[in-house]
Each structure stands twice: as C-alpha cells, then as structure tokens.
Symmetry: C2
Subunit: 334 residues, 2 copies
C-alpha cells in the first residue's frame, strides 16, 4: 500500500478511539498491526473497530517484535500509564512516529529519557491532549489569540469526573501515576493552550478521601500556578461527580484578561465572552477536528498539528512536577 500511513497499536487502554475514529475517516491510512502489552490484555477496542474490520491488522503478543516486523510509520501507544514511556521509547528508537495516551510518562526520569530519544530520532511524538480539539476550547483559544480579552491574566480550569468503575491498576500510584498526570493534565494543557502562556511555578494539594479502595487515586485536589507574564492559574480536579449527573465530566475554563473574560463550560454547552465593548456574547467554533487526522496531516506536509512537537513533553513535565509539589507541600519552579 504505497503512500499510505501505516499505523500499529500498542495496547488498548484509554482514548485509543481518537486514533481509530480518525483512521476510519482517512482512506490514506492503514492499520497494519495491533499488539498486546500484557498477557490476556483485551484488544477488543482495537479489533472490534470498523478500521480493524477494514484493514485486518496482524495481532502480536510481543509489541517489540511487531515494531520490528510491521515497521509502521506511526505507533499508537495505549499501555497502562506507567508503561507508556517504555512503549514510546521503543517506537521512537526505531524511527517510528508516536501518538500516545497521556500521561506519556509517570516519572520525570522516564520522561526525560524519552524526550532525548525522540529528539535524537527526529520523530514526532504527540500526547493525546484531546481536549484541545473540543469546539469550545478552540473557540476560547481563538478569542484569546485574536486579542479579544487583551492580555490573559487569571485562568481557572476545572476537571470533574464520575468515578464509575476503574480497573484495579488505578489503585496503585506506581501503575496509575496519580490523578494530576491522568486528569488534571488536561486542564494544565488547555489553560496553557488557550492563554498561550508558559507556567513558571506550581503549588498543589491532593488527597484520596472518598475512595479508600483506590489509595493510589487522588479523588480531589487543586493546583495554583504562576504564569510567565505574572498572572495566575488555578485548576481544581475531582472524581466526585455523582453518577446520575447529566454528563460524565464537568470540564470548565475561564480566562480573565486585561480587556475581557472568556469562559467555557463544556457540560452546559456554554461558551461566552465579555469584553469592554460587548457584554455576554456567545462563542461558537464550527467543526470538531480529530487528533489523528491532525497529526497525519502534518506528517503529510499539510499544515501544523495543534499540539506542537515539544508540548507533549512540557505539559507532562508540568503535571509530574505539580504532583511532586502536592506530595511534598513545596512550591516548585517549572
């Protein structure tokens, strides 16, 4: 299949649907192989997809062998989170581009090693910061970039999830990595994405209070971040949303700037801007992009992916240092 983007999947945890859904819309890509990363790992999310029916990928029990034999252009890494860095490193070392579930690493040491390998190999690694592609986030990003609110100064991000049922490996910090790298990381990313500002410092707190069977999972917590322009960001996160709520998540963003305020509440389908000239104007952003298609377009030389080449490392670094700030009760320079 000359000219087609050859994709292989490593594991089947998390938001692998971003890639499978995108490929389904893209006749220029082909799913050549899928690998288990644990004995008895369920690959159904991959193998039952329309794309797998279309492309009939070869299934492997050893993902390294798959990488060597199938030689994909892109590896999609969706392992238990503590192993993502390992899977990404193996792919990058072989010169293969990577799309990986976040967090791409659960320890800074793994993250920095991976970053070195990716830089040396000259491949593209993209973390699944899927919330960047939400229309309300894109609308807020555009408003700020267009100068509608002046200089962004104070940001608030909220991540609130239903707990639902979680696999056993969420019970252990070592395998799960913690809720800041798994959940709060989205807000860390979209606040940075929308404001266009870098983080300078972080203080954080987190605890497991309502789910004693999952001691490795913090079900409430918050971050206070200094922004590079002297402004501030606060991020709260929780697994306390009642099961009967109308949506799984209650994700929010507010950015107050020198000339206005932009705000999005995704569960309410609410996105609004207030400026000095015009009160309470609804914001809309047409169309929903797909992360895989965005990455694929860049690899084909058609435009720039919304997630910059170094951003996956930086945002993960901020998340892991925020976790450290919460663990140690210290303010950490980023």
């Amino acid at each position: 299949m000359p000219g087609k983007l050859r994709v292989a999947t490593i594991g089947a945890v998390g938001h692998i649907g971003y890639v499978l859904d995108g490929m389904q819309q893209d006749i220029g890509s082909v799913l050549v192989a899928a690998a288990r990363t644990e004995p008895n790992e369920r690959l159904e999310p991959v193998l039952n997809s329309d794309v797998a029916r279309r492309d009939q990928p070869k299934v492997y029990d050893d993902y390294r062998r798959m990488l060597d034999e199938a030689r994909p252009d892109i590896a999609c890494v969706c392992m238990r989170y503590f192993r993502n860095a390992e899977g990404c490193t193996e792919a990058a070392q072989r010169g293969i581009h990577v799309i990986c579930e976040k967090p791409i690493a659960t320890e800074l040491e793994d993250l920095y090693r991976l970053r070195d390998v990716v830089r040396k190999a000259g491949v593209r690694l993209t973390a699944m910061f899927g919330m960047r592609y939400e229309p309300h986030v894109l609308a807020a990003k555009k408003a700020v970039a267009d100068g509608v609110i002046g200089e962004p100064l104070l940001a608030f991000g909220q991540k609130s999830y239903k707990f639902g049922t979680r696999p056993d490996w969420y019970k252990d910090r070592k395998t799960f990595g913690g809720t800041i790298p798994w959940v709060a990381i989205h807000a860390i990313d979209y606040v940075r994405f929308v404001t266009g500002l870098e983080y300078a410092t972080v203080a954080a707190m987190h605890a497991n209070k309502a789910h004693p069977d999952y001691p490795g999972l913090e079900d409430c917590g918050a971050l206070l971040l200094g922004l590079s322009n002297g402004g501030q960001a606060v991020i709260s996160f929780d697994y306390l949303r009642p099961e009967c709520a109308n949506t799984h998540g209650d994700d929010r963003l507010r950015v107050a700037g020198s000339q206005g305020i932009v705000e999005a509440r995704l569960a309410d389908d609410f996105c609004e801007v207030i400026t000095q000239r015009q009160a309470h104007r609804e914001l809309r952003h047409e169309g929903k992009l797909n992360l895989f298609l965005d990455v694929a377009a860049e690899l084909r030389g058609q435009g720039k992916c919304l997630i910059g080449p170094e951003e996956s490392f930086r945002v993960t670094e901020v998340a892991l240092k925020a976790r450290e700030a919460a663990d140690t009760g210290r303010i950490i320079v980023l």
Copy 2:
C-alpha cells in the same frame, strides 16, 4: 430612649448600608451620633439615610469624643481600611460592641492587639461578612449542614469585580491593605462558612497587571488552601470584569463532597445541588437576612448571630496570612 439599641457610626466608607438598612427596619434601634474620621470626610451616606432623618444623630469631628459622650451600645466602624483596627480598638476599650467593615485590620499586629482588647472587654465584634446573608450562600450552607453532599472535600470560590472608579487611597497598600483582605476575604469567609471546615495551610499569588495607576491594588490573584479534613479549597479573585457586564460582581461557590456537589453563581441567580440520588436540583433559600438585625437580635438575647464571636478575627487572620503567602511566595501554616 431606654431599651433601645443606641448606635453610632465612625466613618462612612464601604458597606455602612448594611447597618443603616437594618436599623431602618428596626424601631428598637436609634442612631445617636455619627463621626467623621478624616478632615472633610463625606458623611452623606450616613446623614442622607432614612435612619438619620428619623433619628437626627449628633455629628462629631472627633470620633473618640463621640464615643465618650454618646456612649453608644454599638459602634459601626467604616474607616479607611488601615484604620479600622484603630476605630474598633477605641470602641471595644470603652466596652462598646462593634460592627466593622472588613477587613477589621490590615496588619496582623493590629489584628491581634484588637482581638486581645475585645476578649478582655467582653464585647461583641462583628465583621461585615455580608455575603453570608445572601440567599444562595445560605442555601448552600444548609445543604452541606444537612449532609446532602456528604463530607465536603473540594471547594472553589470566585470573586470577580468591575473596577469602576476607586478612591485614591486604594492606590497604596498601606491605606488599602490589598485585594486579598478587601475582596478575596469574602470567599475565604463563605467557603469556610459553607463547608464548616477550618483552613490548615495557604499558598497564594497576586499581581497588579491591568491598573498601573493603582499599584497597591492587586487586580488578579488566587489562593490554594488546605482544609482541616485533608480537602482543598481554591479561590480566585480579580478586578477584571468588564464595565458592561450585567452585574457588578460575579461571585461563585462550588463545594464537591463525598456524596454530591453544591454550586452557586450569584450573578446568574443559580444555585444547584447534584447528589447520588438526584441530579441537578435547584436550591432555594427564602428571605434575605440583614447583618445588623442579626447582630442586634443576639445582643437582645434572641438567638445566635450567623457570624460567630471569634470568626471575624480568624477569617481576617487567614486573609492577612494569605496576603503574606502571596507576597513571599511561601506556603504558610494557618
């Protein structure tokens, strides 16, 4: 006028209307005197009130002389903020109860001295934490106290104001005291009031970014607070609300607990609870109490004031230590 509560006002800055409005509804109180605290201070907010027309208070240029001569039961202190502690101390030393605009002190040293005087004198000092009397705040408080959301674990408070026009003495930290003690203090108070939890630690950040003529006034900032039960609170505050927005303030509260989430957005007239059993139920609290009437009732032996006798000191202490945390970049134990 035996049996009547005799009230005198010291200065006329800020929310003195709480007291004047309450007195207007209370034939058992009388405004006996009003004092200027600065040369040429405008006393119109007091003297043009219906209560002043009713009671014809004697006007003084020296508030200490007024306290000595008029011997009121209650002094209402509304001075430039850095002088509130002085006015309160003078009244308390004379055995006079005090209702004071927040912050009751802008320096910890003044606060602790005032606290000692009040404790020794056995008088009641009440800071104007007027937001406690907002129906949505009372509704949220009742829901939490009734156990509707289980154990409160993660709180968010937002204070956002229009800048409008501010007096010159807001330009100087020394006279103004800073935006944490003036604005964020409301959220520090109502988060504590609604959750029923004490604060354990605080990290904070603040800056002046959009109002260079007012260097002593921080127009954006945020607090991260540890709660006594191991939960967390975040509070954001700003003076960035555009002038054309539909309300002066955009005050919010959200408390996520082990069994549900309660939320209020005052500008939207929104107050809602989500529990494990019932999604998205509107909360209502009938009637709006008045702070003065609440204090007066307690002094008459009729019930307990919503603002406990030591709470004004504690909340002010938290605000001043939060300001210190922001100034120094340190996490402070409360």
